[in-house]
Every structure is written in structure tokens, then in C-alpha cells.
Amino acid sequence: MTLIDHQTWQAAVADLTAGSSVFVAIWAERNADAAIVHLAGRHRGAASVEVLSLATSSLHYPSVGLHHPAAILMERAIQDIHGLTADGLPDTRPWLDHGTWPHSRPVVPYPFKPVTGEGVHQIPVGPVHAGTIEPGHFRFSVNGETIVGLEARLGYTHKGTLDLMRGKAPDQAARLAGRVSGDSTVAYTFAFCRAVEQAMGVDVPPRAASLRGIMAELERLANHFGDFGAICNDSGFPLINAHGGVLRERVLRLAASAFGHRLMMDCIVPGGVAVDLTADSARTMTASLPDLLVQFERLVELYDKTASLQDRVVTAGWLDPLLARRLGCGGYVGRASGQDFDARRDLQYAPYDRLTLAVPCLDAGDVDARVRVRMAEIRQSVALILELLGTLADGELRAVLPDGVAASTGSAVVEGFRGDIFAHARTSEGLIAEVFLRDPSWFFWPALEAAIEGNIVADFPLCNKSFNASYSGCDL
């Protein structure tokens, strides 16, 4: 870890504001009255993420959110968890702190942004919802049926995962990393393990790298199949949901028979993977994936030909490509709004560094575009899995982690099904000293708030599902 001075910090923030670099994350660590704030970003076109660390003895640091809105939520989280003040932060309301912590700053009731005007009224929704989804509160300001403002309030699933990971051995910490957001468990352990491996200077054996790729793509397949169905369901077309559910289930069963766990939890471990893929399982996978794709194409045809469904998804929930760029939205949200970025291609890592990847990128920015990006990624994932299976090398599954090495840091970005997951870890004497995991959803929530404006209330579930942002991933 190299500390920088205020000038370098301000220069980096200016780069973010100008758009020549992309904001990745901001987090902090605090030890009594001394604190260090870390800012991660990557230059557009660069193949790696840079982490800048600023030490502060006054518990104050210059706000990034003041100049770059994507950082506001994370700085509010820093303020709640570490008690650091971001000087100039435009929004200082508590974020994770709901007034129930021992050292909380109770603000009751939570001051939602006021929306005034004739006929404008509020609709509170959540945090308990009627469906089986995560808890989050949405405050709609509506005029008749039209949404004039939406504010999401999260933090209901704050678990203190990062704090639990500190001081643990990498193996234990990786299990915790896999539980930050259950639907992305593979991507999270993948990202965290890569960060630890970089810190410890470990090279992953080629077979393990390929297996990691297969798991990550299976996870993407399962989630995209599920999302495709769920988006159609929320637009009132349950037929595709039923079939999407079948496809997702078949992928999960493939994963269960191949790796011993439906969601492949804890299959990736620091240094490699915990389970091997037998030749039998590999053959089953090679045989059944093209089958799934045939079924899937029939659903795509149904999706295209159902006029009533197209009427719901096209033009709904439009996200301005400029805003997507400014917020640094990745994943299907960014790629449906013209942001041509995929960590697998642009920040190459094993096993994708030896594969060619066509990244789907659309400009429409509506629900339909987000569905179509997922469709393209489903086809791509099947092709990638087949290629990885075909070129699967024999060899070791896991490299041994060295113990007792000096303190060092590592960071990694892994493309989960939602988007790029950033992991940063500092190891010291073989234990995790400091860790941060950033979910792509940090940028989806503000994007959703902007995209929903001007839509009608009844279209919110549909737009929300097309973003499918993680609550748990942000609440940490």
C-alpha cells in the first residue's frame, strides 16, 4: 500500500469528473483516530484497476461524491461505518445506519428528499414486499400514475460481512465472500480469491482457472435464464417465466451434479478450486448445454412475437447512456445503454485471457435492451463453457498458499452476471488484514432512480427487475 498526498487525490478525482477514468470504489479503514481512505478507479482503456490510499488523522477527507455522484452512496456508508466525514459530501444522511446501532446517529424519521408540486403524493413501498425478494424501501413521489421521483433506501440486510472477514484465514474469508450476495457467490469468491492470490503472489494452476471460468459462466447462465423469465413475469406474461424457471433449474442441476452444489458455493478457494470436474460430468455438460440453447431460442422467438409483451418492454425504463457512463454502470445495465465494457475482455484474467469474447452492446437503454443483452450473453456463455470444456487441461487443482509472507495488497475485478465485481484484500502474516468487496449494484440503484422518472407506477416492478440490483451486495 502506497499512501498519496492530497494533490494526487484531487488530481484523481478530477480525472473521474472529467470522465477520463472510471470510478470503481471508495472505502476506508479506521484505527482509533487514524484512518485511511482508499479510492479505486481505472483509466478508460487501461487493463487494470488502480488503488489510491489517503491517510487522514482528522477523520476528514475530501469528498469524491461532491464531484462525482457515483461515489455518494459509498461515502455515506463510510460515514456510517467508520465515522469519517467526507468534506463537501452533498448528501450526509445516514445510509446503512437505521438508528439501531449502539453508536448510531439516530435520524428518525428518515428525511426523504422532498418533492413538491400540485397533486404530487407519496407511495411508500417496502421494506417488506409481497414477493420473495430482498428488503428495501422505495419512496415514490407520483403525480397520478406518473412517477416524478423515486428514492430507494437500503441497508436492511447489513450483516457486517467485511468486518467478519478481517483476521480470518483466506479460506474462511473466501467462504464469507461467497455469501455477500447469494446469486453471485461464484463471482464473489472468484474475485476475492484473485485479490488474495495477487497479494500472496500465487499462480493458479491452468485446470483450476478453467474450472473457475466454467463455474462463473454456469452462474451467469442460471441467473440470466431466471431474470429473462422474471422480467416477462413482471410484465404480466408468466408463460416465459415458467419455461425460464425450467431452464434455470436445469443449469442448477448440472452444477449440482458436476460440482456438488447447486449454486457452486465454496467451490472456488484461494489458490484454485475445491472440486474437480469428472470426465463424465464434462460429457453431460457438453451434451446438455446445446439442448438448453435450443429451448431457449424458442422462448426468444415467443418473446419477439408476443406483441403485448413487446409493448410493455420496449421504451420502458429508459436509462440515458450519458448517465450510465457518468455513474460507471457495468454489466447488462451499462451494456444496454452503450457502455462497451466487460471485465472479462477489458481487464483480462484467467481463463478469459485466452478466449475471444464478443461483448453485446446496445444503445436503446430500455427494458428490452437489458433483456437482449442478457440473451446475447446466454449464447456467449454456452459457447465459452463448451470451449473451456474442450480445452480443459489436466493438472493440479490448487496451489499452496505461502504462509508468513509480509503484508501486501491485491485487487481484482471479476465479471459477475450483474456486472463487474471489485475485490481488494490486504494480507498480513497469512491472514486477511483488510478487505473490500464492491457490488455492481452500487451504481444500479442511482441509475434505477433516474431511469424510472416519467414512467408509470405500474411499470416499476418491470423496470426494477430488468436492473435486478442486489440489496445484500450493497448492504454488506
Partner: protein, 318 residues
């Protein structure tokens, strides 16, 4: 025949609609589930739900008034009476003189009125959303329904459903354009009024998209049971209405003997089943509309019904 038999038949009719309504709703649910490759709920699940709800405690919102508590009874009573007035297996029931088609429309309108008042009474955001949507749809569906009534009454020369049904059954009406328009309009009104696809999603859990469900979100226990039952009765009512006007085949004529009554009962069952199958098939192949498209859809019913009535003034044979 005396008074006993007609009285018995009238009560049988009232009991029949009440007993058959949950079965019909259950049947539609099973069909839809099968079409979506799901196992679906058991056919008799709605009876169990109602039985369970009736023994459960009622939770009443603290801000609600007497209106909230009495509305379920009013909604249920008016809907039940309306459903019992529609000829099912036989025409010219004992009480059929007491209400014609216009009365049925008025009874359903009354039920809706109380439903909306009760939803506003509790003062929740969802109640308000549901009411505003319901009012928007109803403001088009109710006049459409009245125009359909006029069309049919002009053709049959009566607004009494039994007379209309007998007239249609006699074949005197023949093929008429105005009736065809009326049928299409009535189907659209029925879909809108019973809260089915593409107007409303009867199975949704998404509070923000609900219409009918949003109005009854705060109900529990026996209140909810009555409202669910009333909703099931409404579906039965509309299918019966379409059947008795446009497919009176097999319906027992006035003073019919036992075999004719049995035939009427069997054909009635077949008609309900056919209606359920058509409904489930239609609902599976279409997505829900955007809320602001629904007025166009229901407005089409109003225009068709209006056209039907106008055609009759142009020529009595159209």
C-alpha cells in the same frame, strides 16, 4: 305446479351459483397452471381458503371506519343477488321479475362503489392507486355494459334476462351484426370487470401493478373470504350472462319438467367449463397491458356496443 317447486328451483339457483363460483375460479387457476407447466393448486383450493379465512381473526386497520367493516357484506350480498338473477340452468325463476339486466348492472355498480369507498376509507397509498385505476376502467366499462343492454333489449324487445334468453333460444333473432358487436363488447367488459388479463393480473404479488387486489389488500379473515367469494361470483356471473344471451342452448324453458332441468344443469356446467377454458387460453397467450392502454381496450367495447345500438336504429334487421 304450486309455489313449492318454483321456490325450490329459485333457491337451488341461488345455492348453485354460490357453490359453483369457487369451483369455476379454481378450474381457471388449474388450467392456467397446466398451460404454464406448473402443477397448480388443487381444484378445490378456493373452498379451503374460504373455510380457513372464515375461522381466522379479522384485523381491521386502526384508521378505518364502519364503512370498511360493512363493505364486504354489502359487496358480497349485491354480487350474489346479481349472480342469482342471471338464468343459469333454467329461465323464468320465481324472482326473475324482480330484476332485469339494468338492475344487474346497477347491483354490480353498487358493489364496486362500496369496494372503492372501503379502499379509500383506510387511507393507504395502495388503496388510493387501486381506486383511481378501478374508477378509470369502470367509467368506460359501465356505459359500455349499458349500451350492450340496450342493444340486446332492442333486439329481444325486453330487458328481462329470461325473456331475452327465451327469445334467443327460439331462434327468432337470427344472425345479427349488432348482436355480434354486442358479444365482442360484452367479452371485453367481462374481462375488465372481473380483473383478468390483460387488464389486471389476478395472481400478482406486485402491489404497484394491482387494480382489484390493491383495493382489498387490507382485508383479512371473514371479510376477505366474502370479498374473494364475491369476486368468484362475478366471474361466474359474466360467463353465465354471456352463455344465457348468446348460447342459450339447453337452458330449461319456463315450467320445464325434471329431464329438461337436468339437461339445463348439464349444459350450464359445460358452458361454464368452456368459458373457463377459453379464458385460461386467452390469459396465457397475452401479457398485461400498460395501465394507460386499458382505457383504449375498454373504450373499444364502448364503441362497439354503441355501434351495435346505432345499427338497430338504422335497420331493425341488422
Amino acid at each position: 305446479m304450486g309455489l313449492i317447486v318454483p321456490l325450490f328451483l329459485q333457491f337451488a339457483q341461488m345455492a348453485l351459483v354460490l357453490a359453483a363460483a369457487p369451483l369455476l375460479t379454481g378450474f381457471v387457476r388449474v388450467l392456467k397452471a397446466r398451460l404454464q407447466r406448473r402443477a397448480g393448486p388443487p381444484l378445490l383450493q378456493m373452498y379451503r381458503d374460504i373455510a380457513k379465512l372464515t375461522v381466522k381473526d379479522v384485523i381491521v386497520a386502526t384508521d378505518s371506519s364502519w364503512l370498511f367493516r360493512t363493505a364486504p357484506y354489502l359487496i358480497f350480498a349485491t354480487t350474489w343477488v346479481a349472480a342469482a338473477l342471471v338464468p343459469s340452468f333454467g329461465t323464468n325463476m320465481l324472482f326473475s321479475w324482480s330484476g332485469d339486466l339494468i338492475v344487474i348492472v346497477a347491483l354490480l355498480g353498487t358493489a364496486r362503489f362500496f369496494q372503492m369507498l372501503a379502499a379509500l376509507d383506510i387511507g393507504t397509498a395502495f388503496g388510493g392507486i387501486g381506486v383511481s385505476r378501478e374508477a378509470m376502467f369502470a367509467s368506460l366499462a359501465e356505459p359500455a355494459m349499458l349500451m350492450i343492454v340496450f342493444t340486446v333489449a332492442l333486439v329481444a324487445g325486453s330487458s328481462q334476462l329470461s325473456d331475452i334468453s327465451n327469445f334467443m333460444h327460439s331462434g327468432a333473432a337470427g344472425l345479427r351484426l349488432s348482436l355480434a358487436l354486442g358479444l365482442v363488447a360484452l367479452v371485453i367488459v367481462a374481462i375488465a370487470e372481473t380483473g383478468r388479463f390483460p387488464v389486471d393480473n389476478p395472481a400478482t404479488h406486485l402491489e404497484l401493478t394491482m387494480v382489484h387486489e390493491a383495493m382489498v389488500l387490507e382485508y383479512s379473515g371473514r371479510h376477505l373470504a366474502l370479498i374473494e367469494l364475491a369476486h368468484a361470483l362475478k366471474l361466474l356471473l359474466y360467463i353465465s350472462l354471456i352463455a344465457c344471451i348468446f348460447a342459450p342452448l339447453g337452458i330449461a324453458p319456463p315450467g320445464a319438467a325434471l329431464p329438461a332441468l337436468v339437461l339445463g344443469l348439464v349444459t350450464y356446467g359445460v358452458k361454464l367449463a368452456a368459458g373457463a377454458i377459453l379464458l385460461a387460453g386467452f390469459e396465457t397467450t397475452i401479457a398485461k397491458m400498460r395501465v394507460f392502454r386499458v382505457p383504449n381496450f375498454v373504450g373499444a367495447a364502448l364503441m362497439l356496443a354503441l355501434l351495435g345500438t346505432l345499427l338497430l336504429f338504422v335497420s331493425a334487421t341488422l
